[in-house]
């Protein structure tokens, strides 16, 4: 493996594979294999006590697809995903826009950007339960509203409801929109905007014709993160809805809890297919690998 700057393609292939081999050696047993195991398990029969009988049956799929619950779960999941996506996108876009175009000192912009990212590196569960003292029946928001005389009885929809679920999602996931959108916006040449202004473009034209199209890759990346996390989540739904709502994965969790592995696996395979379809649809609009490496 002596260096030769002008490498021949076969050697480049070998060197490339040597460098990524540790990554592949982790991802094959801990990503590819588990997915295949789940796929396999979805075709197995069960004795009802967690034991799996190897074989090939579509019974689990039939069960999942025939149950009225499945449709309800998917509708609930889609509802949460769409609501969370809209809120994170709007907030994330404008926060990134503010940091890139309105904060004059670059150092301050980076500082404020870090301020937004710090909670990402702390515990999700803790950030979620931290809404309890605010949204609860005796929480701060209810106390404040009662104190102001806006309401007479405490609002119960604030906590353990769909509203609380969406609040927790938006709280956790807006960062996944801010970072990629911030990155693509920061790459927009300010001269381009000045030229547009000199040519008589309005603020709205600049937004529509320059900023939004040039942030598209960031929006796409953020969307992939938000959609895949919300669709794959179960614990926010479980805790914040107080058990009142369910999503596809929270039902999966219940199935696993009662050792219904094949049904759980079949539902997981369906969810993965839906996710792959959504993500590849988004990927058609943008080449993320090129975007990240740029």
């Amino acid at each position: 493996m002596q260096p030769s700057p002008a490498q021949t393609p076969p050697r480049a292939n070998l060197a490339g594979w040597l460098y990524v081999s540790p990554l592949v050696l982790v991802l094959v047993p801990f990503f590819v294999a588990p997915i295949l195991v789940v796929l396999l398990a979805s075709f197995f029969a069960t004795d009802g006590f967690g034991g799996l009988t190897p074989g090939f049956t579509l019974a689990s799929y039939v069960e999942v697809l025939h149950s009225a619950l499945t449709l309800k779960l998917y509708l609930a999941t889609i509802k949460f995903t769409v609501l969370t996506w809209i809120f994170t996108l709007v907030i994330g876009f404008f926060v990134a826009y503010f940091l890139v175009f309105h904060v004059r000192s670059q150092l301050l912009a980076i500082g404020l950007f870090l301020l937004c990212t710090v909670p990402f590196w702390t515990s999700n569960i803790i950030r979620m339960i931290s809404w309890i003292p605010l949204l609860g029946k005796e929480g701060l928001i209810n106390q404040a509203l009662l104190g102001l005389g806006v309401i007479r009885a405490p609002l119960e929809v604030l906590l353990f409801s769909d509203l609380a679920v969406v609040i927790a999602y938006v709280h956790q996931l807006t960062i996944f929109m801010i970072v990629p959108i911030f990155n693509s916006m920061a790459r927009i040449d300010k001269k381009l905007i000045e030229a547009a202004i000199d040519a008589g473009a309005s603020r709205f034209d600049i937004m529509r014709l320059i900023v939004v199209p040039m942030s598209k890759s960031g929006i796409a990346l953020g969307t992939i993160f938000v959609v895949s996390i919300v669709m794959g989540d179960f614990f926010v739904v479980k805790v914040m809805s107080g058990g009142g709502s369910a999503s596809v994965v929270s039902a999966f969790y219940e199935d696993v809890g009662v050792l219904q592995y094949p049904t759980a696996a079949a539902s997981a395979v369906l969810l993965t297919l839906v996710l792959v379809a959504v993500v590849s649809l988004i990927l058609r609009t943008v080449d993320i690998r090129q975007e990240i490496a740029r």
Partner: protein, 301 residues
């Protein structure tokens, strides 16, 4: 998807902004446009909503024995912190804390080494690189609970015992590695190949050029990978749930507490674990700044 964005400001912006009055959307000096104030308010509210709830539970964790889950504060003491580490009903906080730190350190070391090597590999195209890349993206976006279940079943089928240092370690790596490699992508894109070529021209071998040129130049990026590796592992939950075996990691302990414990102990644990996260974040960001500063001064002097 951009329909949502473009439709939103349409109503007010196009009417109120005449071309003559706008010289720039965000002028670099002079008066601020009205949009600055609107967006600054939005930003402040966002930051407030981001940190506000967290600070509420930190404050509430310092109540005395009468304390409850909501305001107002009842007294001040460290009662619930002591309770956390001494009471049996709150579970094995100490043990899980210990395991989580150890696991996070192991995950971090592996993540840094593997991500760095993969970052080097992805600089040049090679046959099959796209497949590896999408495998990584798949590992990032796959539902953690499903992956965890698959890993758990796989270990069961192979007759291996699931434990935090085998199956949970692997399951966490499937989460931290994609982040690590993506950070390396961003870092590598700013690395000037001229430096590496210069090292080769001066007679350095491949390993020497990595050790003496690339690692020092990329140091801040590697610290960022450390930050991601440690914090993502330390707080990882969904992938560990089915893979940690009989001994809990800290997030799993917190999870079981959210279901059973209704005392400020829960908040005290939140405060403790966030302090650890903040120390790691502070140390990482601090050392990045320090490296950059050192570099700036040695470049000048």
């Amino acid at each position: 998807m951009s329909a949502v964005l473009t439709d939103m400001p349409k109503t007010d912006m196009s009417k109120s902004v005449a071309p003559a009055t706008t010289k720039a959307i965000a002028p670099s000096k002079g008066g601020r446009p009205w949009t600055f104030y609107v967006l600054a308010t939005l930003f402040s509210l966002y930051v407030l909503a981001l940190y506000g709830p967290m600070f509420c539970i930190y404050i509430l964790s310092f109540q005395d024995i009468r304390g409850g889950l909501v305001f107002p504060m009842k007294g001040q003491s460290l009662h619930w912190f002591v309770d956390l580490f001494t009471q049996v009903r709150t579970g094995d906080v100490k043990g899980s804390f210990d395991r989580s730190i150890k696991l996070a350190v192991i995950v971090t070391i592996i993540t840094v080494v593997v991500s760095f090597l993969a970052g080097l590999g992805f600089r040049k195209r090679f046959r099959g690189d796209t497949a590896v890349f999408y495998m990584m993206i798949g590992s990032l976006v796959a539902p953690g609970l499903v992956l965890g279940l698959g890993t758990g079943l796989l270990f069961q089928a192979l007759g291996l015992n699931a434990s935090w240092y085998t199956s949970a370690l692997g399951a966490q790596l499937s989460w931290t590695l994609p982040f690590g490699v993506l950070v390396m992508f961003a870092v590598m894109s700013r690395f000037d190949h001229v430096w590496e070529e210069a090292a080769y021209d001066l007679g350095a071998g491949r390993w020497q050029s990595i050790r003496l040129v690339m690692i020092p130049v990329l140091a801040p990026g590697l610290v960022a990978v450390v930050l991601f590796g440690f914090t993502l592992s330390y707080d990882e939950f969904a992938r560990s749930l089915q893979t940690a075996g009989s001994l809990n990691t800290l997030p799993l302990e917190i999870w079981s507490m959210t279901l059973n414990v209704t005392s400020p102990s829960l908040y005290a644990l939140g405060t403790v674990t966030t302090v650890i996260s903040f120390i790691v974040i502070g140390a990482s960001l601090g050392s990045i700044v320090l490296i950059q500063k050192k570099r700036g001064s040695s470049a000048k002097g």
